[in-house]
C-alpha cells in the first residue's frame, strides 16, 4: 500500500512540476524580454506585475473556437499537440533534482537513452501537425522542424555520450554521483554543444526558422487555434525546462554545489536550471535568427566535430587518470 | 563480439587480443574502401581513373595477405572465459573463400576499370570494396552476429551497386527487386537466429552446435523453427529455388560487371554462410536440413536450367539473362555437396568449395567476354555472339572454353572434374536420386551452353536486326578488360591441366 502511495505521490509531484514550472518560465520570458527591450511587459493580470498573465492566456485559449481545416487529416491534426507535449512530461520523471532516492521521479537505469529517445518523439508532433494541416506553410515548417531535429540530435547524442563516458554509466543519478567539480571545465565543450543543440531542437530563437512568422507564418502550427495551440506553446516551455534540467544534470553537476549539498541539493538544481532558462530567454532577445542553411551548417560542421573532439578528450583523460 | 558485458568481472583478460594478420584480408579491403572514398573527394576529375587502380591494388594487397595465413590455424576475437569459441577463424575454408571473393572482386574491378566513366567513380569503388570486405569477413565469421553483420556488409553495397546507373530505369528497378527480396530474407533469417539464440543462449556456432544437441523437449520445436528459418534466409541469398526469382531480373538490370560480381561473389557469400550455419552450427539437425537442401538443390538446378533453356537468342539482354539462369542452375549443383554433408561428413563441403572456385573463374571469364561483346552490341543478345570467332577469334575461343567448362565437357576439364567431385559427393552420401537429377540437368545445361558455343563459331549472318552499326575495325579494347579475360582464361586452362590445384579442397576437411 505504501508503494502505491509513494508512486502516486511521485506522479502527482512530477505532474505538478510539469504544469507549473513551464508557466513560470513563460512568465519570466514575458518579463525578462520586456525589460531587456525597455518595456514593462504584462502588468495587470493577477495584480502584482501581471503574475497571472499566462493563466489568463490559458483561460482565453480554452474558450476559443477549435478550428480544424476542412482539408486537414482530422485525426492526426487533433492528436498532434498531445504527441508534442507528452514526451516532456515523461522526461521530467527521470530528472533527479536531489541526491536522495526521493528526489527523482523514477530512477531509470538507462536514463540518458530514455530521455534522449523520448525527447526525440516530441518532434513527431510537429511533423504530424505540419503534415495533417494540408497547408503548404505547415508542411514546409514541419519538414524544416524534422530536418532541424535530425541535424541536432546527433551532436546532442554525442555530447551526452561524452558524459556517459566520464561517469561510466548511463543512469542520470549515477552520473551525478560520479560528478566532480573539475568535470565542469573538462566537459565544457560538450555542455555547450548539448545546450545549443537542445535549443535548436526546441526551435527556440535563434534557431526558430521552422516557425519563422516572417517566412512561413507559424510553420507547422499555422492552422492551430485554441487549446491545441496552447498545448504546443506549453510543449515549447516544457521543453525549455527539460533541456535546462538535463543540461544541469549532465554537465553542471545537478545538486552538487559549493555547500549544503545534502539538504539543499534540490535548490542548486533549481537554481542552475533557472539560470539556464534565463540564458535561453536572453538568447532569444539577443541573437538574430539563423537562416536554414546556416542552421544545418552549424550542426554538421561545427557542433558534430566539436562533440567528437569532446568525446576524444573525455576518452583520453579518462584512460589517463585510471 | 567486441561488445563486452558491463557485468563481466574485471581483470585484464577482458580485452580480446586481436590477431591483426588473421583479419588482414577484410580489414585491408575495408581500409582501401575508405581511402578510396576519401580520395575521391580530393581527386580531380582528370585523375578519377586512379581510384580504380587504387582499388585493384588494394584487392591485390588483400589477396597477398592470404599467403602468410595459409597454415590456416589462426583465430581471433575469442571468448575470454575459457571456452574455445572464437568469432573469427581463418581456417582453410575461410581462406579459400576469401581468396575466391577477393579474386572475384579483383576481376570485377578489372572489368569495370575502363567502364566507370558513366558511373560515379568514387562511390562505385567504395561500394565494391566495402562489399568485398564484407564478403571476405563472412567465411571467417564463427558467430551468428558476425555472420549477420558480414552478410549485410556484403549485401548492402551490392544493392547500391546494382542501382548505380543513374537515370537508368532498369538499373534502379533491378536494385529495388534485389533489395526487397534480400531484406525480407534477412528479416526471416534474423528471426530464425533469434529462435536459435533463445534455445541455446549463445551466438557462437560451435557452442550452438554443442547445445543444440540437448535442447529440452519443450523447446525443440522452437529450435527446429529457428534452424529452418535461418536456412530459408540463406536460401534466398544463394538464390535457391523457390527463392530465386530476383536473380534474372537483377542481373539484367545491373551493370554487367556487377552482375558478374553478384553471380560469383554474391553466391559465394550465400554459400559460405549456408555452409557455416549448417555444418558448423546445426550439425545435430542434419536430418532436418539435409533432405531439405537436397530437395532445394534438385529444384534449383531444374528450375534454373529449364529457364535458361527457354531463352530465345534474339531477345534483348538474353545473354545476361541466360547467364543469370545458368547461375541459378549452378547454385543447385553447389547445394548438392552441402546436402551430402548431412548424410556423411564435413569433407563433402570441399566439393562445394572446389566447384565454387571453378565456377568463379569460369563465370567471371564468361562475363568478361560478355562485357567485351557488350561494348559493340549494347543489346546483349545471344545472337550478338554469332560469328564472334570471325571478328575476335581469341575472345571467341575463350568464351567457348568458359562455356564448355560451365557445361562440364572437355576441353573444359576443370569443369568436368568439378562436376565429378560434386557427383561423387552425392554418390558417396547415398543420394543417388539427386545424382541422377543432376545428371539430367547437366545434359539440359549442356544444350544451351553448347548452343551458345556453337553460335560463336558459325558464320555471322548478314542481318543486323538490332540496328546497331557494324563494329568498326580496330575497336580498342581497354587493357584491364583484356587482362581480365586473359587471367580467367589462363586460370581456367591451368586448372584444366592441373585440376588438383582446386580439387584438393574436395578431399580434405577444411575446418
Amino acid at each position: 500500500m505504501n508503494d502505491v502511495l509513494d508512486v502516486a505521490l511521485r506522479l502527482v509531484i512530477v505532474f505538478a512540476v510539469f504544469m507549473v514550472v513551464p508557466l513560470v518560465v513563460g512568465q519570466a520570458e514575458h518579463k525578462v524580454m520586456a525589460h531587456m527591450q525597455g518595456r514593462l511587459g504584462p502588468m495587470y493580470a493577477g495584480g502584482f506585475h501581471g503574475w497571472a498573465q499566462l493563466v489568463a492566456d490559458g483561460v482565453k485559449f480554452a474558450q476559443k473556437e477549435d478550428v480544424v481545416p476542412a482539408d486537414a487529416d482530422r485525426r492526426i491534426f487533433q492528436l498532434a499537440p498531445a504527441v508534442a507535449l507528452l514526451p516532456y512530461l515523461l522526461v521530467i520523471l527521470a530528472i533527479p533534482i536531489g541526491p536522495s532516492e526521493g528526489a527523482v521521479g523514477q530512477v531509470i537505469d538507462a536514463g540518458i537513452f530514455f530521455v534522449l529517445a523520448v525527447m526525440g518523439v516530441g518532434v513527431l508532433g510537429s511533423l504530424m501537425a505540419g503534415w495533417a494541416s494540408a497547408n503548404k506553410f505547415s508542411l514546409l515548417g514541419g519538414l524544416r522542424t524534422a530536418a532541424q531535429l535530425l541535424a541536432y540530435e546527433l551532436p546532442m547524442l554525442l555530447a551526452a555520450a561524452s558524459v556517459a563516458m566520464a561517469a561510466g554509466t548511463v543512469s542520470l543519478p549515477g552520473i551525478l554521483n560520479a560528478f566532480e567539480w573539475w568535470w565542469l571545465p573538462w566537459q565544457i565543450v560538450g555542455a555547450l554543444v548539448f545546450f545549443v543543440a537542445g535549443l535548436a531542437e526546441l526551435q527556440r530563437p535563434p534557431f526558430d526558422m521552422p516557425v519563422a512568422d516572417s517566412e512561413i507564418i507559424f510553420g507547422a502550427y499555422t492552422e492551430y487555434t485554441g487549446l491545441r495551440f496552447a498545448l504546443f506553446l506549453l510543449a515549447e516551455y516544457a521543453g525549455i525546462v527539460v533541456l535546462c534540467g538535463l543540461t544541469t544534470v549532465l554537465f553542471l553537476g545537478g545538486w552538487h554545489g559549493p555547500f549544503g549539498e545534502d539538504g539543499l541539493g534540490w535548490v542548486w538544481t533549481l537554481l542552475k536550471t533557472g539560470v539556464l532558462a534565463f540564458v535561453v530567454i536572453w538568447l532569444r532577445v539577443t541573437y538574430p535568427r539563423l537562416r536554414e542553411d546556416q542552421l544545418q551548417k552549424l550542426a554538421w560542421t561545427t557542433l558534430i566535430p566539436l562533440a567528437l573532439a569532446q568525446i576524444a578528450l573525455t576518452g583520453i583523460v579518462k584512460v589517463a587518470i585510471n | 563480439m567486441t561488445v563486452a558485458a558491463d557485468s563481466a568481472p574485471g581483470a585484464a583478460s577482458l580485452v580480446q587480443s586481436v590477431d591483426w594478420l588473421a583479419i588482414a584480408p577484410p580489414v585491408i579491403a575495408a581500409s582501401v574502401a575508405l581511402i578510396v572514398l576519401v580520395a575521391d573527394l580530393f581527386v580531380g576529375e582528370r585523375h578519377k581513373p586512379l581510384l580504380g587502380y587504387g582499388a585493384v591494388a588494394g584487392l591485390v594487397a588483400a589477396l597477398a595477405t592470404l599467403v602468410p595465413l595459409r597454415a590456416g590455424d589462426r583465430s581471433t576475437f575469442c571468448l575470454t572465459d575459457g571456452s574455445q569459441a572464437c568469432s573469427y577463424t581463418a581456417d582453410h575454408f575461410a581462406l579459400v573463400i576469401q581468396a575466391l571473393v577477393l579474386g572475384g572482386a579483383l576481376l570485377t574491378a578489372l572489368l569495370s576499370v575502363g567502364d566507370t566513366r558513366k558511373l560515379p567513380a568514387g562511390e562505385f569503388w567504395f561500394l565494391l570494396l566495402a562489399s568485398a570486405a564484407g564478403a571476405a569477413l563472412l567465411p571467417a565469421a564463427r558467430d551468428l552476429a558476425t555472420l549477420v553483420v558480414a552478410l549485410e556488409v556484403a549485401s548492402l553495397p551490392a544493392f547500391a551497386l546494382v542501382g548505380i546507373k543513374r537515370g537508368d530505369r532498369r538499373s534502379s528497378e533491378a536494385a529495388l527487386k534485389f533489395f526487397l527480396s534480400s531484406v525480407v530474407a534477412t528479416a526471416v533469417m534474423l528471426l530464425g537466429v533469434s529462435f536459435v539464440y533463445a534455445t541455446t543462449g549463445t551466438m557462437h556456432l560451435t557452442e550452438i552446435a554443442a547445445r543444440l544437441d540437448d535442447v529440452p523437449g519443450r523447446f525443440s520445436t522452437l529450435a527446429e523453427a529457428g534452424v529452418v528459418l535461418t536456412l530459408v534466409g540463406f536460401a534466398f541469398k544463394t538464390a535457391a529455388a523457390p527463392f530465386h526469382f530476383w536473380v534474372p531480373d537483377t542481373y539484367v538490370g545491373a551493370p554487367l560487371p556487377i552482375a558478374a560480381y553478384l553471380s560469383v561473389v554474391g553466391k559465394a557469400v550465400g554459400f559460405s554462410g549456408l555452409v557455416l550455419v549448417t555444418v558448423i552450427g546445426f550439425p545435430s539437425y542434419a536430418d532436418v536440413w539435409g533432405p531439405s537442401l537436397a530437395v532445394l538443390a534438385a529444384l534449383t538446378m531444374t528450375v534454373g536450367n529449364v529457364a535458361a533453356l527457354r531463352q530465345t537468342a534474339t531477345r534483348a539482354r538474353s545473354a545476361v539473362r541466360l547467364l543469370a539462369w545458368s547461375s541459378v542452375g549452378q547454385a543447385g549443383y553447389l547445394l548438392v555437396p552441402i546436402a551430402a554433408a548431412a548424410y556423411s561428413s564435413d569433407e563433402q563441403i570441399g566439393s562445394t568449395v572446389a566447384y565454387a572456385l571453378m565456377y568463379a573463374v569460369v563465370n567471371l571469364g564468361a562475363f568478361a567476354v560478355a562485357a567485351l561483346v557488350a561494348r559493340s552490341h549494347p543489346g546483349n543478345r545471344l545472337s550478338d555472339y554469332r560469328g564472334l570467332y570471325a571478328t575476335r577469334p581469341l575472345a571467341a575461343l575463350a568464351m567457348g572454353f568458359f562455356l564448355l567448362c560451365l557445361a562440364g565437357l572437355p576441353p573444359g576439364v576443370i569443369g568436368l572434374f568439378a562436376k565429378v567431385t560434386v557427383f561423387s559427393a552425392a554418390v558417396d552420401a547415398g543420394l543417388g536420386w539427386l545424382a541422377v537429377v543432376m545428371a539430367v540437368n547437366v545434359v539440359i545445361a549442356l544444350y544451351y551452353y553448347l548452343r551458345w558455343t556453337a553460335a560463336l563459331f558459325t558464320a555471322p549472318e548478314a542481318d543486323t536486326q538490332s540496328g546497331t552499326a557494324p563494329q568498326a575495325p580496330g575497336h580498342r579494347v581497354p587493357a584491364p578488360l583484356t587482362l581480365a579475360i586473359v587471367l580467367t582464361a589462363v586460370a581456367g586452362i591451368t586448372l584444366s591441366g592441373a585440376p588438383q590445384l582446386i580439387l584438393r579442397f574436395a578431399a580434405v576437411s577444411l575446418f
Binding site: 477549435d66 535530425l150 487549446l227 567528437l308 | 580485452v15 576519401v38
Partner: protein
Amino acid sequence: MADVPGPTVLASDYFQSYSVVGLLALVGVLFVAVAFGAGRLLRPVVPTPEKLLTYECGVDPVGEGWAHTQVRYYVYAFLYVIFAVDSIFLFPWATVFAAPGYGATTLVEMFIFLGFLAVGLLYAWKKGVLEWT
C-alpha cells in the same frame, strides 16, 4: 542449453521502473483528454466554410496543400538515421571502457569507430550535401 532459467519469467525489476513511466504516460493522456473534453464544453463551435479554408495569409489557397518537397530533407533524414544509429554504439562502450581490464586498446578501438563516423561526415560535407542551397 547450459543453464535453463527456471520459470519463463523475465527479470521483474527491469520492468518496474518502466511501469511507472507507463503510469505517467497514462496520466498525461488523461490530462490531455480531460483538457480537450473541458475545452469542448467551454468553447463555441461555429464553423463556416471560410473559416475551414486552409490559411494562406488571407488569400484563397492555391493548389494542393501536400506539395512535393525537396529531396534535400530526405538526405538529412538519411544522414541522421545513419549517424544517430551508429552513435548508439557509443553508449554501451562508454560505460565500460574505463573499467579495469579495458584501457587504451578499447579507447583506440572506439576512436577508429568514431573515425569512420568522421569520414562519413567529411564525405557528406565535401559532396556538398550539407550545403543548403
